[in-house]
Symmetry: C2
Subunit: 202 residues, 2 copies
């Protein structure tokens, strides 16, 4: 990756984050039904046309479009040596996503509050989740040379997705004081170890 | 439990299943917005009053109200010896739920088709899922004497829930030919073993 590409990627990520943050703040204040794309664009200082370069609709800006790109995930998994087990390989493949979320801490914290208050947004989140789970299932099956309908890739995709979600919840509840990357490292280590119970408890 | 109670429970389960199956068949045929509680009750041969003894609304009959009862889960977990690890203890505690779903195979198969075609139902399913995950988190924390906001119970609840969901999906995709109980046994064994990759793959 060249420096120029890195800079452009960063600028795109910033514009996307600005649009989402603006949308989230306005929805938090006025309610989902009382905010339009035009108003969000104006408040963020971009044209509605630019808005639609980043998001397909208002709800998408609010919930985010954290859709896992299949080709990118395949490439990241392929970069992890073949003898690394699937769970550890996925942790490595998810590293950039986790870092990005960590970098947009305030945005994600606000997003989780807004979704909790607007259940209508849940089904969109779930749709993204289902799609991502299918992508991860396919990528794990490809890595291991298993048929797409084998139990193992589906189980690993569901379970690692749930672990990520659980970490996001713990991270939000801690007010972001515990680094998300640490939480994810610990969760994936626990998965690989068979979810042993914590050593000391009263 | 006396025989009388067992029989009454069975009859209640059957009425509930009949109402759900009737609702699902009508929704599959006419669409979610074109079926009323009165029509479902009439088709199932009960009064609307009886309907509301089982379900709070139409959507609930369609999606089901598979809400995990906290007191019951606590009691089931308490019945599993304390030296059994949490994941295996949860498998035992879920046994009856899994058996019930297995017994209502056609109902669940239809349910999954209808939900897939009516995304509006997803948010209700997710709401139930979130509630169940909280119940399981609290039960695991209580069993292990951990504080309610500890990472471990939240992780175990998220991950075992995802494993159950994955098994339901594989079971539905197999057309119910593979017993759900076997799929759940295998998935929980894989979780406890750290999700090892399948031994032989080409």
């Amino acid at each position: 990756m060249t420096t120029t590409e890195g800079r452009r990627d960063r600028r795109k990520r910033q514009t996307r984050a600005t649009l989402s943050t603006t949308a989230l703040r306005m929805v938090a204040e006025h309610g989902l039904d009382h905010v339009t794309v035009d108003e969000i664009s104006e408040a963020a200082g971009v044209s509605p046309r630019t808005f639609f370069n980043y998001f397909g609709c208002k709800d998408e800006a609010v919930v985010g479009n954290a859709v896992v790109d299949e080709a990118r995930l395949d490439a990241r998994l392929a970069a992890v040596p073949a003898d690394v087990p699937a769970v550890a390989a996925l942790r490595t493949a998810f590293a950039e996503l986790v870092d990005d979320i960590q970098a947009d801490r305030d945005l994600w914290s606000l997003r989780m509050q807004v979704v909790e208050r607007n259940p209508a947004l849940l089904s969109r989140l779930v749709t993204i989740g289902v799609r991502n789970e299918r992508t991860i299932t396919a990528a794990v099956a490809a890595r291991l040379g298993l048929p797409g309908d084998h139990d193992y890739p589906a189980l690993v995709a569901a379970v690692t997705g749930a672990a990520l979600r659980s970490c996001l919840g713990q991270w939000a509840r801690s007010g972001g004081t515990r680094p998300l990357t640490d939480l994810v490292d610990e969760a994936f280590a626990a998965l690989a170890a068979g979810l042993p119970e914590p050593a000391h408890h009263p």
